[in-house]
């Protein structure tokens, strides 16, 4: 089994693992090391052949392997590069690389509008996080941004092509989850856009997952459109008996009202299980679901603003074992 060192942390991984997966293994092993995981915009572990488009996950390989210790000449996409025994990778410890990632972020933001106050994705948008961490506050782009009119894809999905960063995740969903793809990328280069052929409605049981995999606000839920900002809704884990999917979902609630249903996203922002359109769009009544309890939200996420579930749980934990957790320092809980 090859051994790889990422930002001075060593891990042994199975043959054929990519650098990104190895970094995520480090993050899963110890939450304190989660910062070594490169950000991803297009790679999605649940979708085959995804990744390699956005270059956000680039890392510097300073030693190729034990057999061939030469460094790789350029930063490599960690989602597409397999580890070798003795490989040494630098991510956050290499300032040059962070600068390169800043450049990538700037490229991604060239055509992306600054309409976070309007966008339904704000608060759970990966590009927003990335821009906040690596981005510039000003754009150096002198030309007009490309603009499109928002399009309705079917009666449940809205496409804002302005915000799209062409990550191809939704295309992979259309290819791999649904039968008979009616949705893809047309044109090339600067004029490339995702589209359904002649705006044909995407109509099959799993098309709603495009909304979940979209890292930005290009594909949004029309049934949730402008209904609320995500941080005013309360995510609740819930399940129901569903003949087509696992039925395990998150209800985004306001009072007793279910405003939105999405899949359950793990700590890397990927859904654990894809859910069907019936669960997502048609069962917006809390009576149809068995609510398991509030979903644990990352402490640094805006979604957790004014929510007190974590503290409540913490209180229960400290009551059960008063000596195990130091007072005033909430335990880090996994899950986003």
């Amino acid at each position: 089994m090859p051994k790889v060192t990422i930002d001075t942390i060593e891990i042994e991984v199975p043959e054929g693992t990519t650098i990104l997966q190895a970094a995520r293994m480090i993050g899963e092993r110890d939450a304190a090391h989660r910062h070594v995981v490169p950000p991803t915009m297009c790679y999605y572990s649940k979708l085959k052949t995804s990744g390699g488009y956005c270059r956000t996950c680039i890392v510097k390989v300073t030693k190729g392997s034990d057999k061939d210790p030469r460094p790789m000449p350029k930063p490599v996409a960690s989602c597409r590069t397999a580890v070798m025994d003795g490989m040494v990778v630098e991510n956050t410890t290499n300032p040059e690389l962070l600068d390169a990632r800043k450049g990538v972020t700037e490229f991604l933001l060239i055509n992306h509008p600054l309409d976070c106050p309007i966008c339904d994705q704000a608060g759970e948008c990966h590009l927003q996080d990335l821009g906040y961490e690596h981005g510039l506050s000003k754009s150096r782009y002198a030309f007009e941004r490309r603009t499109f009119e928002p399009i309705d894809i079917g009666d449940t999905i809205k496409l804002h092509m302005n915000r799209c960063i062409l990550c191809y995740r939704c295309v992979k969903v259309a290819e791999q989850l649904t039968d008979g793809r009616v949705h893809g990328v047309i044109n090339r280069g600067d004029v490339a856009e995702i589209s359904t052929y002649i705006q044909e409605a995407v109509d099959n049981d799993f098309s709603g997952n495009m909304i979940d995999v979209c890292p930005v606000g290009a594909l949004t839920d029309r049934t949730f459109r402008f209904a609320s900002r995500v941080w005013y809704t309360k995510p609740m884990d819930a399940h129901r008996k569903c003949p087509t999917c696992s039925g395990r979902a998150v209800l985004w609630m306001k009072g007793n009202e279910v405003l939105r249903v999405t899949g359950r996203k793990d700590q890397w922002g990927e859904v654990e299980e894809f859910i069907c359109n019936a669960c997502r769009f048609d069962h917006k009544d809390v009576k149809h679901w068995t609510v398991e309890g509030p979903r644990q939200v990352d402490r640094h996420s805006v979604i957790g603003a004014n929510h007190y579930e974590l503290q409540l749980k913490q209180k229960l934990l400290t009551k059960a074992a008063p000596d195990s957790t130091p007072v005033g320092r909430p335990q880090e809980l996994p899950g986003a």
Binding site: L114, D115, P117, F226, A227, W231, Y232, V302
Partner: protein, 197 residues
């Protein structure tokens, strides 16, 4: 009968002196005379602490934090896009809003694709800290030097859009230019930002 306490309850407890009062202290009169003297002195001091409101007004800071205004842009469109950042910044949780989508033909009314159909500030909850105007990304909400009028019922203090949005008439607009620091004025000159267009 309770048992006498043998040790102090806290570390901060102090032993109170049980000194007996002197005769002068016991008759109280000298102390009363001394106190009345101070009161009398203030009778003849001619420094006024009051003004004849409302004919006379006290000077007010140009950046006084009073009643809010929801600004319109130069073309009279509402700037607020119901992003909810003011409400999440509000420490008193005084702000609530309901967003709506702008329809075709309403472009002259609302600046952005989304607007606040309902925007309410509970003036009794509001602590006038100004965090909402700091949080606003659209320069839509400002605190002004106007005061919130008094009233007899609590319900009337929930101000909706009819109270908060400034009037369309350019003569009746609320001037907030004094509230903007130099850096903001500089920033607003830069037409490269979509924000300023």
């Amino acid at each position: 009968m309770a048992t006498p306490i043998t040790q102090p309850l806290t570390k901060r407890s102090q032993v109170v002196s049980e000194k007996r009062m002197t005769l002068m202290e016991r008759i109280y009169l000298p102390a009363i005379v001394k106190g009345m003297g101070i009161t009398l002195k203030h009778f003849f001091r001619l420094r006024k602490a009051t003004v004849k409101y409302p004919e006379q007004l006290r000077p007010m800071s140009p950046v006084y934090r009073g009643m809010h205004v929801l600004k319109r842009d130069e073309q009279g469109r509402e700037r607020c896009t119901a992003c909810g950042l003011c409400a999440v910044a509000c420490p008193a949780e005084a702000i609530t809003m309901v967003a709506a989508e702008r329809k075709k033909g309403e472009e002259k009314l609302y600046r952005e694709e989304k607007y606040a159909a309902v925007y309410e500030i509970n003036m009794l909850r509001c602590i006038f800290c100004g965090d909402c105007e700091d949080a606003c990304p659209k320069e839509a909400i400002f605190l002004t030097d106007r005061l919130v009028p008094t009233d007899y019922t609590r319900g009337t203090f929930v101000y909706g859009k009819q109270w908060l949005v400034e009037p369309l008439d350019p003569a009746l607009r609320v001037d907030v230019s004094k509230r903007q620091p130099k850096a903001v004025a500089e920033f607003k000159k830069d037409r490269n930002f979509a924000h300023n267009r």
